[in-house]
């Protein structure tokens, strides 16, 4: 049973113990919060591509995207059976808003409300992705409009306990564009990350608009990977985000929302001889303006807007290779794969969700503790004792704390030691193989040997009289991590070799 599960059980017991008392409501709210989907805020500078990424994550065009600046109010996107939306003004009751479908997009009608007067917007839409994570779109920081920037700042900061705050978020995605180290914007991104309630364990950097890197040539995504790798190694970014992933929101959005008629148009274009399409694909203007093409110019204009030049070239290349056998599903899969979105989702839904559970469990324990002190019923001492017992044994929590300390430079160790610790604690992924730096297909025996080696190493560090106390404590956590990893492996089979059958 994980720490989160145990905390949940204890929380249920506390709810039973406080049935009918005022504290029951608080404990129930905490319980509800623990069961909610992961809350992910998308933050970044103006024009970094936040809304496009949001649409890609939802799988539907719900956030307005435009060449100009658009998102002006913090907007929550949650799952609901029917599409609906409501505005939450600062000084008035929430009121419902109209959400109109327009083509593949949903358009929010603010009516006579002014964005500046609103606290937030809430949008519910049926989306399988939203059952697993709630998304929060924030206005761009660094906006030319003061109030818009302040909204984002206030939303992401706020001096409350993040995990316990029912309005807080569990993970933050920071969108970065390619920036030089001396870029003033780079500093602002760092600052935004630094003063929001995020930590290197629940924040991820996204190198956005990866399809535009280096002018959007055929190797744009590969180049974006290289840049992301560089960012990952930047100590300043490491202290703020878990990792940096290259993502193209545009490709992701296109993959999620590609309409059958758009696919048909692409097929028609892919069917044209290369001599016809090559000059068209030189520029966006040429693509739209080319005469006597079986797809009308307005539909071509739509295609280039939806896919971008990189996506367009990629799609036509792929469809041409497949020929008549090409299926829409294959193209969608290709676009989604290139967008880098699956990696981002995986990171959020596995690692961040696991950690979120741990952090939420921790705050649930704190809530139980507070309730038992405020209202000391008979069961209170026992509940508090259980809380203590759980906390002490919660190795997951210790791991998260240590990872944060590592990233923020609080642990005195050699660089290779730090890298090793970071990986072992799940800094690059929580799978056993990843933690040990082994390929996924490594045989159990090799995994077991690697665990033993790590364990031995950290035991020596922990027992060395020369190790500093902070490092000793870290080494002890890492020893327990190794023990935990060993426990996940199937029991070692008896090494009895069955002799081959005789000839």
């Amino acid at each position: 049973m994980t720490f989160a599960d145990r905390a949940r059980t204890l929380l249920a017991e506390a709810v039973t113990a406080y049935r009918g008392r005022p504290a029951e409501r608080r404990l129930l709210a905490v319980t509800r919060h623990m069961d909610e989907p992961l809350r992910v805020a998308i933050a970044g500078r103006v024009k970094a591509g936040k809304s496009t990424l949001l649409n890609a994550l939802v799988g539907q065009r719900v956030a307005a995207t435009d060449a100009g600046e658009c998102t002006r109010v913090v907007t929550w996107y949650t799952h609901g059976e029917q599409p609906s939306a409501s505005a939450h003004p600062r000084d008035a009751e929430p009121r419902p808003l109209r959400l109109e479908p327009r083509g593949t997009a949903l358009v929010l009608d603010l009516g006579d409300l002014r964005a500046d007067d609103l606290n937030e917007l809430r949008v519910e839409i049926p989306s399988s992705w939203l059952t697993r994570m709630t998304l929060v779109d924030t206005p761009g920081m660094g906006s030319l409009s003061e109030s818009v920037a302040r909204q984002a700042q206030e939303f992401l900061a706020g001096d409350t306990d993040r995990a316990a705050d029912p309005d807080g978020v569990d993970a933050v995605v920071y969108l970065l564009r390619q920036l030089h180290a001396t870029d003033v914007d780079f500093l602002e991104v760092l600052s935004d990350a630094q003063f929001s309630h995020s930590t290197p364990v629940n924040a991820v950097g996204v190198l956005s608009r990866s399809d535009e890197v280096g002018g959007g040539g055929p190797d744009a995504i590969e180049q974006a990977q290289r840049i992301a790798t560089r960012y990952r190694d930047d100590p300043r970014l490491r202290s703020l985000v878990q990792t940096v992933l290259p993502v193209s929101g545009l490709l992701g959005e296109a993959g999620a929302t590609l309409r059958p008629e758009e696919f048909a148009d692409l097929m028609r274009l892919a069917g044209l001889p290369a001599e016809t399409t090559a000059p068209m694909l030189l520029s966006a203007d040429r693509f739209v303006a080319a005469p006597s093409v079986p797809v009308p110019a307005d539909r071509r204009h739509r295609l280039v807007r939806v896919l971008g030049m990189y996506g367009l070239r990629l799609s036509l290349d792929a469809l041409r290779q497949r020929g008549a056998a090409a299926r829409r599903g294959d193209l969608v899969a290709l676009l989604t794969r290139r967008s880098g979105l699956p990696e981002l989702r995986r990171l959020l839904l596995t690692q961040f969700a696991e950690r979120r559970d741990v952090l939420k469990a921790d705050s649930a324990l704190r809530a139980i503790d507070a309730v038992t002190r405020a209202d000391p019923i008979d069961a209170a001492p026992w509940l508090r004792q259980q809380v203590e017992r759980l906390r002490v044994s919660a190795h997951e929590l210790a791991e998260i704390r240590l990872l944060t300390e590592l990233r923020t430079g609080l642990v005195p160790a050699a660089p290779d030691q730090l890298a090793h610790m970071d990986r072992l604690l799940g800094g690059e992924g929580s799978a056993v193989g990843t933690r040990l730096g082994l390929p996924p297909e490594a045989p159990d025996a090799e995994v077991r040997a690697a665990i033993a080696a790590s364990h031995g190493y950290w035991r020596r560090v922990a027992h060395s009289p020369l190790s500093e106390p902070v490092l000793v404590r870290a080494a002890e956590v890492l020893m327990r991590t190794c023990e935990g990893l060993a426990a996940t492996l199937p029991p070692a089979r008896a090494t009895v070799r069955v002799a081959p059958p005789p000839e």
Binding site: A67, H180, D183, Q194, F195, A220, R236, D285
Partner: protein
């Protein structure tokens, strides 16, 4: 592919120069002919520096490559341009790197791009710039392209001040942005400042092949410029289309890339500037050279036809020769004035920089002490960059203005000397004084003038209309003033995630840290600015000195020639004297015609 009409400058002025060169040669004044030949080179192919500036990753290097049709600048999706690349005409491809020690080293031109992105030779040395010579038609007319490292954050970027310095010395500036995004507020601010300091500004919107909405971005940007009160054009271009067009020879595609329009615009600007400055200066040079020749002919003619004045003339000419020779010695007053005034400018510039930086440090420290710098750092840094850039740009403009004043003063002094010599030689020609080439009379001197002028903000004063530009800085590389952005950037001091909440001890620690790093940054900025001051002063001083030394030498030669002619006249027998007199009269008539023509050319060219 070839570009038509690379030689810019009017045929009329070239013809005039050629005739003047012939005349001065024929009359034995090879020194004057040499000066006129140099002038002619200036008109046809004098260096015309175009600085390519803008934010990071906007396609500056790709733009330069596409202009030239050769991948000379490094373009890489990941790496950044680290040092400026200066590209000029050369009969064969050649390249050099300039190390930060000032040394030069020849490199393989094919490797120039790599050096510019690496900015160093391994661990061995850091580079200051990369210089490339290429046999491209586009460059033949004197166009020098300077690709610069990007700046991050417009006028609020760490390196903006050095870019501004370079812009002030450039003949034209291309400000590059791409179609992915409209101008940011900081970019508009940079443009506004750049327009003040370099009037020949042109905006370029790159990557229009890739962004279907580029026309909207273009319109939005035009709106930004209009609201900022700027009348600067934006030319949309696509380096990708240009490269494809050059490879395939596809003319319509080339036109679509926007580059022919850009090339034409550059040419037109170059031609206009040649017309306005170089041609006028060439006409002035013709006038002052021919006037000396005419003076000599006149003196000789007088000596031949009025022998009774010979003795007095010789005496006067001796004096004139002595005075002219005196002008060449280090003791000449104008030389002292140059030395004194430049030392004065230097110390004033130093003091000024120091005072400005001290004031700024005070402002910054007040701001830091009033709040929590760890929280406000992301606002403090761009603010400080912006303020520093303002101060440094003002200081630079102010210094250039002071240099201009010194040049004017030296010019007036020298002119006085020349006038005295003119009276002694007493030729029948109202000689344009040597310094007249500077057209001091037409310069409006604003404000209190001279060195008594306090170091106030000199914004709005443009170097391009000043004496200094026409005489001196045309030969100083703006590229040398582009300081590498790394040398003066405030680090992210608070990279370590700060403890939340307002804890006094932490805030105090953060303030101390912030104050220290601000002081470090301002000091570095001052050192960089000082280095630029030294470079500019040294260069200007040497140029001005050389210019007047050459003029003094010419005057001495003229006095010498007149003296020799008079002596010849003394010894001439009657018949040869007559023959010589009629010869000088013919020569004089020819030279006078040319002189009149030069006067006309100069007169019709408004400055």
């Amino acid at each position: 592919m070839s570009f038509p009409g690379t030689v810019i400058g009017s045929d009329q002025i070239l013809q005039l120069l050629d005739q003047a060169i012939t005349e001065t040669n024929r009359l034995g004044r090879q020194d004057l002919a040499g000066r006129l030949t140099a002038q002619r080179d200036q008109v046809t192919s004098g260096a015309w520096h175009v600085l390519v500036a803008g934010e990071f990753k906007k396609g500056k290097s790709a733009l330069v490559n596409a202009l030239l049709g050769v991948p000379v600048c490094g373009t890489d999706a990941v790496a950044f341009t680290a040092v400026p690349t200066i590209i000029r005409y050369g009969p064969a491809p050649a390249a050099e790197v300039v190390l930060d020690s000032g040394q030069r080293r020849t490199i393989d031109p094919a490797q120039a791009a790599r050096y510019a992105t690496e900015g160093a030779i391994g661990e061995e040395a850091r580079l200051e710039s990369v210089e490339v010579a290429l046999p491209r038609e586009l460059l033949r007319g004197g166009l020098v392209l300077i690709d610069t490292p990007g700046i991050g954050g417009g006028f609020a970027a760490a390196a903006a001040a050095s870019t501004m310095r370079a812009m002030s010395l450039a003949d034209a500036v291309l400000v590059v942005s791409d179609a992915s995004q409209e101008y940011t507020a900081a970019e508009v601010e940079l443009l506004r400042r750049a327009a003040e300091i370099c009037p020949r500004l042109l905006c370029v919107l790159t990557k229009v092949d890739f962004y279907p909405e580029w026309q909207r971005i273009l319109e939005i940007n035009k709106g930004h410029l209009r609201r900022a009160g700027l009348t600067v054009d934006i030319l949309p271009v696509s380096s990708v289309l240009r490269d494809t067009a050059l490879q395939s020879g596809d003319q319509p595609l080339n036109a679509e890339s926007g580059f022919p329009a850009l090339v034409n615009r550059l040419r037109a600007q170059l031609a206009a500037q040649r017309e306005a400055v170089s041609s006028t200066r060439a006409a002035e040079a013709v006038q002052s050279s021919l006037a000396q020749v005419a003076g000599t002919l006149d003196v000789e003619h007088a000596a031949l036809t009025r022998p009774e004045e010979q003795a007095a003339t010789l005496q006067r000419l001796d004096q004139a020769r002595e005075r002219a020779t005196g002008l060449r010695t280090p003791d000449a007053r104008w030389q002292h004035v140059i030395n004194d005034r430049f030392a004065d400018v230097q110390s004033r510039a130093d003091e000024d920089l120091q005072a400005r930086m001290r004031r700024l440090e005070q402002e910054a420290s007040d701001r830091i002490k009033a709040g929590d710098p760890a929280r406000e750092w992301a606002e403090i840094v761009p603010w400080l960059y912006q303020r520093t850039n303002e101060e440094l740009t003002d200081a630079h403009t102010q210094m250039m203005k002071l240099i201009n004043d010194v040049v004017e003063e030296v010019g007036r002094l020298f002119d006085g000397e020349v006038a005295m010599i003119g009276q002694l030689t007493g030729g029948g020609y109202q000689r344009p004084t040597a310094g007249d080439g500077l057209r001091l009379d037409q310069l409006s001197i604003r404000g209190p003038g001279k060195l008594e002028l306090g170091m106030h903000a000199a914004r709005g004063w443009s170097l391009s209309s000043s004496v200094v530009t026409t005489l001196v800085v045309a030969t100083l590389h703006p590229g040398f003033l582009v300081v590498l952005p790394i040398t003066a950037a405030l680090g992210t001091v608070f990279a370590v995630k700060a403890v939340h909440g307002f804890k006094t001890a932490r805030v105090e620690a953060a303030r101390t840290e912030a104050l220290r790093s601000v002081a470090g940054y301002l000091n570095q900025a001052r050192v960089d600015a000082n280095r630029a001051v030294q470079n500019i002063l040294r260069h200007n001083r040497a140029q001005i000195r050389d210019y007047y030394l050459d003029r003094a030498t010419e005057l001495a030669m003229t006095a010498q020639a007149e003296h020799a002619a008079t002596v010849r006249a003394v010894h001439a027998d009657r018949s040869s004297a007559q023959q010589r007199a009629s010869q000088t009269a013919t020569d004089l008539a020819r030279v006078t015609t040319l002189l009149d023509e030069a006067g006309r050319v100069r007169g019709v060219r408004p400055r």
